[in-house]
Symmetry: C2
Subunit: 80 residues, 2 copies
Protein backbone atom coordinates (compact mmCIF):
# COMPACT_ATOMS: atom_id res chain seq x y z
CA UNK A 1 0.00 0.00 0.00
CA UNK A 2 1.25 3.43 -0.91
CA UNK A 3 0.79 6.39 1.44
CA UNK A 4 1.55 9.97 0.36
CA UNK A 5 2.57 12.37 3.12
CA UNK A 6 2.54 16.15 2.63
CA UNK A 7 4.52 18.27 5.08
CA UNK A 8 4.29 22.06 4.97
CA UNK A 9 5.68 24.88 7.08
CA UNK A 10 2.93 26.14 9.41
CA UNK A 11 1.27 29.42 8.50
CA UNK A 12 3.25 32.20 10.13
CA UNK A 13 6.51 30.26 10.21
CA UNK A 14 9.22 31.83 8.05
CA UNK A 15 10.11 29.83 4.96
CA UNK A 16 13.47 31.19 3.77
CA UNK A 17 13.79 28.53 1.04
CA UNK A 18 10.39 29.56 -0.32
CA UNK A 19 11.36 33.24 -0.23
CA UNK A 20 14.58 32.48 -2.14
CA UNK A 21 12.65 30.60 -4.81
CA UNK A 22 10.11 33.45 -5.01
CA UNK A 23 12.96 35.89 -5.68
CA UNK A 24 14.39 33.64 -8.38
CA UNK A 25 10.99 33.22 -10.07
CA UNK A 26 10.56 37.00 -10.15
CA UNK A 27 14.07 37.40 -11.63
CA UNK A 28 13.09 34.93 -14.36
CA UNK A 29 10.02 37.03 -15.17
CA UNK A 30 7.30 35.03 -13.39
CA UNK A 31 5.96 38.08 -11.63
CA UNK A 32 2.48 36.57 -11.23
CA UNK A 33 3.83 34.43 -8.38
CA UNK A 34 2.89 36.17 -5.13
CA UNK A 35 4.09 33.56 -2.64
CA UNK A 36 5.97 30.25 -2.49
CA UNK A 37 5.92 27.76 0.38
CA UNK A 38 8.16 24.72 0.21
CA UNK A 39 7.44 21.52 2.05
CA UNK A 40 8.14 17.83 1.70
CA UNK A 41 6.33 15.16 -0.23
CA UNK A 42 7.08 11.69 1.15
CA UNK A 43 5.88 8.45 -0.42
CA UNK A 44 5.81 5.42 1.90
CA UNK A 45 5.44 1.89 0.55
CA UNK A 46 3.90 -0.33 3.21
CA UNK A 47 3.97 -4.10 3.02
CA UNK A 48 1.89 -6.47 5.11
CA UNK A 49 0.41 -3.54 7.04
CA UNK A 50 -2.91 -4.05 8.83
CA UNK A 51 -5.31 -1.71 6.94
CA UNK A 52 -7.18 -0.94 10.17
CA UNK A 53 -3.94 0.28 11.76
CA UNK A 54 -2.43 2.19 8.85
CA UNK A 55 -3.90 5.57 9.70
CA UNK A 56 -2.80 5.47 13.35
CA UNK A 57 0.66 4.12 12.48
CA UNK A 58 1.35 6.74 9.79
CA UNK A 59 0.05 9.50 12.07
CA UNK A 60 2.58 8.32 14.65
CA UNK A 61 5.44 8.12 12.09
CA UNK A 62 4.70 11.70 11.06
CA UNK A 63 4.65 13.15 14.54
CA UNK A 64 7.61 11.11 15.80
CA UNK A 65 9.97 11.36 12.84
CA UNK A 66 8.80 12.72 9.50
CA UNK A 67 7.50 16.14 10.51
CA UNK A 68 8.45 18.62 13.19
CA UNK A 69 5.04 19.41 14.72
CA UNK A 70 6.32 22.66 16.24
CA UNK A 71 6.89 24.31 12.88
CA UNK A 72 5.27 21.97 10.35
CA UNK A 73 1.79 20.69 9.51
CA UNK A 74 1.28 17.34 7.88
CA UNK A 75 -1.47 15.40 6.18
CA UNK A 76 -1.44 12.08 4.39
CA UNK A 77 -3.60 9.96 2.14
CA UNK A 78 -3.44 6.27 1.34
CA UNK A 79 -3.44 4.81 -2.12
CA UNK A 80 -2.28 7.57 -4.42
Amino acid sequence: MRVSVYITPKAGVLDPQGQAVLGSLHSLGYTEVADVRIGKYIVLELEGADPAQVEARVQEMCSRLLANPIIEDFRFEAGS
Copy 2:
Protein backbone atom coordinates in the same frame (compact mmCIF):
# COMPACT_ATOMS: atom_id res chain seq x y z
CA MET B 1 -4.96 30.92 -7.59
CA ARG B 2 -3.09 28.20 -5.75
CA VAL B 3 -1.00 25.64 -7.61
CA SER B 4 0.47 22.59 -5.85
CA VAL B 5 3.67 21.18 -7.34
CA TYR B 6 4.94 17.68 -6.47
CA ILE B 7 8.56 16.87 -7.23
CA THR B 8 9.88 13.33 -6.80
CA PRO B 9 13.19 11.61 -7.50
CA LYS B 10 12.87 9.65 -10.75
CA ALA B 11 12.49 5.87 -10.45
CA GLY B 12 15.96 4.36 -10.44
CA VAL B 13 17.64 7.47 -9.01
CA LEU B 14 19.18 6.88 -5.60
CA ASP B 15 17.39 8.67 -2.77
CA PRO B 16 19.81 8.68 0.16
CA GLN B 17 17.53 10.86 2.30
CA GLY B 18 14.69 8.37 1.80
CA GLN B 19 16.97 5.46 2.67
CA ALA B 20 18.07 7.21 5.86
CA VAL B 21 14.45 7.81 6.89
CA LEU B 22 13.61 4.18 6.06
CA GLY B 23 16.39 3.03 8.41
CA SER B 24 15.11 5.32 11.17
CA LEU B 25 11.52 4.12 10.75
CA HIS B 26 12.71 0.51 11.06
CA SER B 27 14.71 1.40 14.20
CA LEU B 28 11.54 2.90 15.68
CA GLY B 29 9.66 -0.36 15.01
CA TYR B 30 7.77 0.58 11.84
CA THR B 31 8.95 -2.53 10.01
CA GLU B 32 5.94 -2.55 7.65
CA VAL B 33 7.56 0.30 5.71
CA ALA B 34 9.29 -1.24 2.68
CA ASP B 35 10.42 1.91 0.91
CA VAL B 36 10.54 5.68 1.36
CA ARG B 37 11.00 8.28 -1.39
CA ILE B 38 11.34 11.92 -0.43
CA GLY B 39 10.48 14.75 -2.76
CA LYS B 40 9.31 18.34 -2.54
CA TYR B 41 5.85 19.78 -2.19
CA ILE B 42 5.73 23.38 -3.39
CA VAL B 43 2.68 25.64 -3.12
CA LEU B 44 2.62 28.62 -5.46
CA GLU B 45 0.18 31.49 -4.96
CA LEU B 46 -0.47 33.20 -8.29
CA GLU B 47 -2.06 36.63 -8.56
CA GLY B 48 -3.48 38.16 -11.69
CA ALA B 49 -2.39 35.15 -13.74
CA ASP B 50 -4.13 34.48 -17.07
CA PRO B 51 -5.95 31.15 -16.45
CA ALA B 52 -5.32 30.08 -20.06
CA GLN B 53 -1.59 30.52 -19.53
CA VAL B 54 -1.20 29.05 -16.06
CA GLU B 55 -0.47 25.49 -17.13
CA ALA B 56 2.23 26.46 -19.63
CA ARG B 57 3.80 28.99 -17.25
CA VAL B 58 3.96 26.58 -14.30
CA GLN B 59 5.31 23.82 -16.56
CA GLU B 60 8.07 26.24 -17.53
CA MET B 61 8.79 27.28 -13.91
CA CYS B 62 9.16 23.61 -12.99
CA SER B 63 11.54 22.70 -15.77
CA ARG B 64 13.57 25.91 -15.53
CA LEU B 65 13.88 26.29 -11.76
CA LEU B 66 11.82 24.18 -9.39
CA ALA B 67 12.78 20.67 -10.50
CA ASN B 68 15.92 19.15 -11.96
CA PRO B 69 14.49 17.25 -14.94
CA ILE B 70 17.57 15.01 -15.15
CA ILE B 71 16.91 13.33 -11.82
CA GLU B 72 13.40 14.48 -10.84
CA ASP B 73 9.85 14.11 -12.11
CA PHE B 74 7.23 16.73 -11.41
CA ARG B 75 3.51 17.17 -11.68
CA PHE B 76 1.21 19.94 -10.56
CA GLU B 77 -2.43 20.72 -10.04
CA ALA B 78 -4.25 24.01 -9.75
CA GLY B 79 -6.67 24.90 -7.01
CA SER B 80 -5.89 22.59 -4.13
